[in-house]
C-alpha cells in the first residue's frame, strides 16, 4: 500500500505561515526538511493566491525565503495516519508516501466555526473565510448583493475584499455588543499596533457599508438557494434580500492530527511548552492549533519552533516577548467576540445540524451524550467526519468529539464506500 518512503530530519505538516516559518529556519540550519500541505497551494488559507500575486509583504518575504531554504515542498499531501512513532502516512495524487521524521511541526491551522440556523444549508450561505479564499481563486461576486454576518475581526477584512471584488455589501452584522468591542479596540494600540493600521486601511474601503453590532442572522430563506436573510437586533427582526450570506462565528483549531499523535489538547487547544513542543517529545505545534491568533502569532510560534529544533535556544528566547503580546491579543479577541447564548440556540427542531447525514436538531436532542447520538443518528459519520457539526454540537449540547482515529481524512476510502464501489478495487484517482 506504500508507494514510496521518504526520510527527513524535520517535517512540517501544514504550509501556512507557522509551517513555513518553522520549515525555513530548520532547513536554513542545514536540517533535511519537508513541508506538506493537503491543498495544491502553499501559504495556507491566509496567504491563498499569494504564490502568484505576491501582493502582501509578509507573504512575499516568507514564500521567497521558503523557496531559497532548500526545504522540500510536497503539495496535495493529506496526512491520513501515523502508523508508528516517527512516521506519517501521506496520501498524494501520485500515491501513498510514508514520510519519516525526527522532529515534527504540527502547523495544521484552524477551520471556521459554523452554527446551525434555519436555512443555513441553502446554497449561497457560505463561510466568510471560505468565500474569501474562493474569491481569491476566481469565485465571481461582481454585482452580487451580500450580507456578512457572524463574529470576529475577519468580518471587516472579508467585507472589504468582497467589495473590491465588485460585490454590493448590504450589511456587516456583528453579534458582539459595542461595549465589548470598544474594550477590544482599546487594547489594540498596546497589543497589536499593526492591526490598527490594517483596520484604518479597511475603513477607507468600507466607507458607506452598514455595520451593526448586537446583530445576528436568525434565518436564511429561499427555495433552491438563499434569497433573503432575517436578522435580529435587540427585539427587532428585519429582512434583507440578498444573493449571498457569508457567515462565520470565529475559528476553532484543527485538532485531528495533534490528537492522532497523542498530543495533549485542553479546551480545544494543543498544549505546548516555551519551545512550542507538545506533550509528545519531538512533536512541536505552532499557530492556530495552540490558540486562535492569526498570522502574527503563527509566524512567531513557527519561528520559535524552528529555532528550537535547530538548537538555537537564544534566538528562540528573543521572540518570547513578542509571542506573549500575540497571545494577549488572542485573549483580548476571544473576550471581545465571545458568542452570546442567543446565537448558539438558533436551530429549530427541524433544522439540520449534521449536513452530511441530514440529521435534524430534534433527532440529536433525544440523546444524552455525543456517542449515543452519533451511533443512533450517524451525526458526524459522513465525509466531513464531524468537522462541521462537531463545533456546533459542542456549542449546543456540550458534547466533546471522540478521540481521532485513523484515517484522519479518509478521502479515497470515503469516496469509494459512499459511491458503492469496492473499497478493495484500485482507486480511480490514481491511474
Amino acid at each position: 500500500m506504500i508507494d514510496r518512503r521518504l526520510a527527513f530530519d524535520v517535517v512540517a505538516a501544514g504550509a501556512g505561515p507557522a509551517g513555513i516559518a518553522a520549515a525555513c529556519l530548520a532547513a536554513e540550519s542545514g536540517l533535511r526538511t519537508a513541508i506538506l500541505d493537503a491543498t495544491p497551494w502553499v501559504g495556507g488559507q491566509i496567504w491563498r493566491g499569494q504564490e502568484a500575486k505576491r501582493t502582501s509583504g509578509a507573504a512575499r518575504r516568507w514564500l521567497d525565503r521558503l523557496n531559497a531554504s532548500g526545504a522540500q515542498v510536497i503539495r496535495q499531501a493529506a496526512v491520513v495516519d501515523a502508523p508508528r512513532p516517527g512516521a506519517l502516512l501521506v496520501e498524494t495524487p501520485e500515491g501513498v508516501l510514508e514520510v519519516s521524521w525526527r522532529k515534527l511541526v504540527l502547523a495544521v491551522g484552524a477551520r471556521e466555526l459554523f452554527l446551525p440556523f434555519p436555512g443555513w444549508t441553502l446554497p449561497g450561505v457560505v463561510g466568510v473565510g471560505g468565500l474569501q479564499v474562493m474569491v481569491k481563486s476566481g469565485w465571481p461576486l461582481a454585482g452580487k448583493r451580500i450580507v456578512v454576518a457572524g463574529s470576529g475581526p475577519l468580518l471587516f477584512a472579508a467585507a472589504a475584499e468582497f467589495r473590491s471584488a465588485g460585490a454590493d455589501v448590504l450589511l456587516v452584522a456583528e453579534q458582539a455588543n459595542l461595549p465589548r468591542l470598544a474594550r477590544f479596540g482599546m487594547s489594540l494600540p498596546r497589543l497589536a499596533p499593526r492591526k490598527l493600521v490594517q483596520a484604518a486601511g479597511y475603513q477607507a474601503r468600507l466607507l458607506g457599508i452598514r455595520y451593526r453590532t448586537s446583530c445576528w442572522p436568525v434565518e436564511a430563506r429561499g427555495a433552491d438557494r438563499v434569497e433573503a436573510v432575517d436578522l435580529r437586533t435587540g427585539s427587532r427582526t428585519f429582512t434583507l434580500a440578498c444573493d449571498v450570506l457569508a457567515c462565520g462565528f470565529g475559528f476553532s483549531p484543527n485538532p485531528e492530527l495533534p490528537r492522532l499523535l497523542g498530543c495533549r489538547v485542553e479546551g480545544g487547544e494543543v498544549r505546548v511548552d516555551d519551545w512550542q513542543e507538545t506533550s509528545v517529545s519531538g512533536v512541536y505545534c505552532a499557530g492556530e492549533p495552540t490558540g486562535i491568533g492569526g498570522e502574527d502569532r503563527a509566524l512567531i510560534e513557527g519561528r520559535i519552533a524552528g529555532h528550537a529544533i535547530a538548537g538555537q535556544a537564544r534566538r528562540a528566547e528573543r521572540l518570547f516577548k513578542a509571542r506573549s503580546r500575540t497571545r494577549a491579543f488572542s485573549r483580548a479577541m476571544a473576550r471581545g467576540f465571545a458568542l452570546r447564548e442567543d446565537v448558539k440556540r438558533l436551530a429549530r427542531p427541524e433544522t439540520i445540524v449534521c449536513r452530511c447525514e441530514d440529521v435534524a436538531y430534534r433527532e440529536l436532542a433525544k440523546y444524552g451524550d455525543g456517542r449515543s447520538a452519533k451511533l443512533q443518528t450517524r451525526c458526524g459519520m459522513g465525509p466531513c467526519q464531524g468537522r462541521i457539526c462537531g463545533g456546533a454540537v459542542r456549542m449546543i449540547f456540550g458534547w466533546e468529539p471522540d478521540s481521532s482515529r485513523p484515517p484522519v481524512f479518509p478521502i479515497e476510502v470515503a469516496a469509494l464506500r459512499e459511491s458503492g464501489a469496492d473499497p478493495g478495487a484500485p482507486s480511480p484517482g490514481r491511474g
Binding site: Q45, F114, T121, V126, M134, S137, C384
Partner: protein
C-alpha cells in the same frame, strides 16, 4: 501556460481564467447546486477550505472531488447532477 482553460460542466463548455478553482468555475457557469444531500436538498460550497465536502462533484467519472480544492484543467468533465 495558456490564459484560459475550457471545462465541461454537465456537458456544457465553460471557459475560465487559468488557475481558477473548480468551485469558482461552477459558480461562473451559474451553478448554485453542486450536489443533493441524502434527503434530496440542494447544497453548495460552505467552508471553501476542503473540510465540509458540500462542494463535492464528479470529475472525469471520479466521485467525491472537492471542487474548492481542485484547480481547473483543460478538458475536465464535471457533473453536479450525479
Amino acid at each position: 501556460m495558456p490564459d484560459t482553460v475550457t471545462i465541461l460542466v454537465n456537458g456544457r463548455e465553460v471557459r475560465v481564467p487559468a488557475g481558477t478553482i473548480l468551485a469558482a468555475a461552477l459558480a461562473r457557469a451559474g451553478e448554485s447546486r453542486f450536489r443533493r444531500s441524502v434527503s434530496g436538498e440542494p447544497r453548495g460550497p460552505l467552508c471553501g477550505m476542503g473540510v465540509c465536502f458540500e462542494c463535492r462533484v464528479t470529475v472525469d467519472g471520479r466521485p467525491y472531488v472537492r471542487s474548492c480544492q481542485t484547480v481547473c484543467e483543460e478538458g475536465m468533465e464535471v457533473r453536479t447532477d450525479d
